[in-house]
């Protein structure tokens, strides 16, 4: 995949393995992270959704936002592409402040995938994927090639492209939604519970596919989930939130080893219990 609008140096750094350590060193070296948030606060009708959030996300990093329902993780994600503008504090993307004026053009550099896919029901899969490229005046051949490459990448079943969203399965919808998000080859992918509405088997399937896709793309990723194992599966860094604040932003293993407060342990443990119970039964 081509990564456009990016200084040449960055790609090489990201492609080095293992990524986790690279990213951390990268964070210290670079003067400009992809996203940097300072004191971001947003409330809705008196309820504070996110409270004084400061966070930096480096190029090529995969960050997972997690926490109990209503902790503000989705709101935080939506502040990245300006769907939500903070009451106070600033969100910067590539050094520039995300505002009402700047967000429209910035969004074309950020793919966005939501729980049910958010596909337009009046358009076929192909039309959904191609919509933005057509709007930007890309040539028909270029679009066809790009859609072809993306359906290979996402392993979309042949024939799905001509279907309307109502005619697709949940998994197919998410694949198409991902293709749509990737169509303009964005620098960043924002995913809000992309697997949230799928049943467990399809979910596991798509999870490994996503992992493979993300690894091959080497893009900056921010993913929201409430599932701890999913977070561990994808994340370079997990941002655990509670009541609008960040409790701990760290490598996954450190949540277990060095929890910032008892809530972290509680949260991590809560999701391990099912497996533990089963193991107990086995023994």
């Amino acid at each position: 995949m081509r990564l456009t609008m990016r200084p040449a140096g960055r790609n090489q750094v990201v492609s080095t393995f293992p990524r986790r350590s690279v990213v951390l060193s990268f964070m210290t070296n670079r003067d400009q992270p992809v996203f940097s948030l300072k004191g971001v606060t947003k409330s809705f009708g008196g309820h504070i959704a996110i409270n004084d959030i400061s966070l930096s996300i480096g190029d090529g990093e995969t960050v997972v936002l997690i926490g109990p329902s209503g902790c503000g993780k989705s709101t935080l994600l939506r502040s990245f592409n300006g769907l939500i503008l903070p009451d106070c504090g600033v969100v910067r993307f590539d050094g520039e402040i995300v505002s009402a004026e700047t967000s429209e053009s910035m969004r074309r550099r950020m793919g966005y995938v939501i729980q049910d896919g958010g596909l337009f029901p009046h358009l076929t899969a192909y039309e959904n994927v191609a919509l933005m490229a057509r709007h930007c005046g890309r040539g028909a051949n270029e679009i066809r090639d790009r859609v072809g490459a993306l359906s290979e990448l996402t392993r979309l079943e042949v024939g799905t492209l001509d279907r309307y969203p109502v005619e697709m399965s949940g998994g197919q919808r998410q694949r198409v939604s991902l293709m749509r998000a990737l169509m303009l080859d964005p620098e960043v992918l924002l995913l809000d519970e992309p697997l949230g509405s799928l049943d467990p088997l399809i979910r596991a399937d798509l999870q490994s596919d996503l992992k493979r896709i993300f690894d091959s793309l080497k893009k900056t990723l921010v993913l929201v989930t409430h599932d701890m194992s999913e977070a561990v599966f994808f994340a370079d860094r997990i941002v655990l939130m509670r009541e609008g604040r960040i409790v701990q932003a760290d490598e996954p293993i450190n949540l277990l080893r060095r929890p910032a407060e008892p809530f972290v342990t509680k949260f991590v443990q809560a999701q391990r219990q099912a497996v533990d119970v089963m193991r107990g039964l086995e023994a």
Binding site: E104, R107, I114, F120, V166, E167
Partner: protein, 504 residues
Amino acid sequence: MRLTRTILPCVAVLLVFVAVACGEDRADVRIGSKSFTESVILGEIATHLVRDTGLSVEHRREIVGTRILWQALLAGQLDAYPEYTGTLIQEILAGQSIENDDALSEALAEVGIVMVGPLGFNNTYAMGMLKDNARRLNVMSVSDLRKHPDLSFGFSNEFMARGDGWPGLSKTYGLTPANVRGLNHDLAYRSIVDGTLDVIDIYTTDAEIEEYGLAMLEDDLHYFPRYDAVFLVRDDIEPTALNALRKLSGSISQSRMVAMNARVKLHGEPETVVGAEFVTEELGVETEIEVLTLGQRLMHTTLDHLTLVGISLGAAILIAIPLGVVSAMKPGPGQVIIGACGIVQTIPSLALLVILMKPVRWAGADGFAAPAIVALFLYSLLPIVRNTATGITNVSATLRESATALGLGAGARMKLVELPLASPMILAGIKTSAVINVGFATLGALIGAGGYGQPIMTGIRLDDYRLILEGAVPAALLALMVQGLFELAERLLVPRGLRIRVAH
């Protein structure tokens, strides 16, 4: 996108069709008539006379309301129509206190109108009683009614209200009957025959006077003014036409008019036949009567009706969808827009038609159809505006946000996502408007715009159910057809993804 791509050509074709329909050559002479039999007969007589000179003539029949005819004459939309001196003096030129026919001629000449006539008969009001009843009670004149305050009086609603009607009459004669009521004129005849009423107001040339054996009471105090029939003619009419019409002066006697009214009203002969016979017998003018077949009549009324519906609905679609979009995007102005469209709906149709006649003429629009088209246009707005606004507002927040997150601006979002998603709702609104429009368009006949309302009005006037059905049935069929047409359009216009239902 698909919506605009498909609707725009449709509307364009519609407008072209309508422009062709409107562009029909205008007749050299246009004659009008009021919405009662005598006036229509006089209109036909004039039509035959003028046609005999070789000019092309158009007869705009049965226009409701003296004011409308008068204004149309002044504006040059009509060249001539039959009127009554009493109406001119008491009503149209009431402010000028005109004493006699000469003064009337002068007053008319000042506004460019030539008065031809009097034609020879006086169609004034009179009090009527059953002959037997009058003889038994020894009532010969209106004054005699004072001796019988217990009689039941029933008057047409107009007579009850007019200053020169019942209020003046009761004052002049000192009549204080215990029982007076207002009712429909045709109904009054039935009531007097079955004995519910004793005294009614009649027009002195009514065909029913003879038919039902009524006595006209003598107006011994000369309360009722003369209502001598005349023709009002614009002074810029073709001179040959004016000369032809002048032949009518003094040519129609009271009894002849009553007889002609009776033939149409009671024996169902067409006005044009009765008029032609008169012209041949009394004025020696040979005429060709063109009695249209049912098919020809239907073609005329259908074309008129489609013109009214086509232009008004086409314009409403073009204007209402953008208004709906604005209403959805800006709730403040939106409330004002939808409120205004709603208020228009509450204006009674005849009132709206009359209100519109002046500004429409002032805007230079010709033809009787224009006010009707504007009224239909206004009535058609609300369903489309409201459905467009609702359709857009109902687009789910998730989809709206998906479009935003892709980087689409507000305009592109509207065009590519919100309007297509709202298209089923918008089409439903257009369908509602179209069906209502087809029905409302029958009212265009009230002001001479033609259409399916024309036979309905004639049918009501002549109590002829076949004629009423000749308008009502095609109107109903057209409404059904329009409904079907839009259901078809739905298949073409609404994206397939919004129509398919998948069993889950």
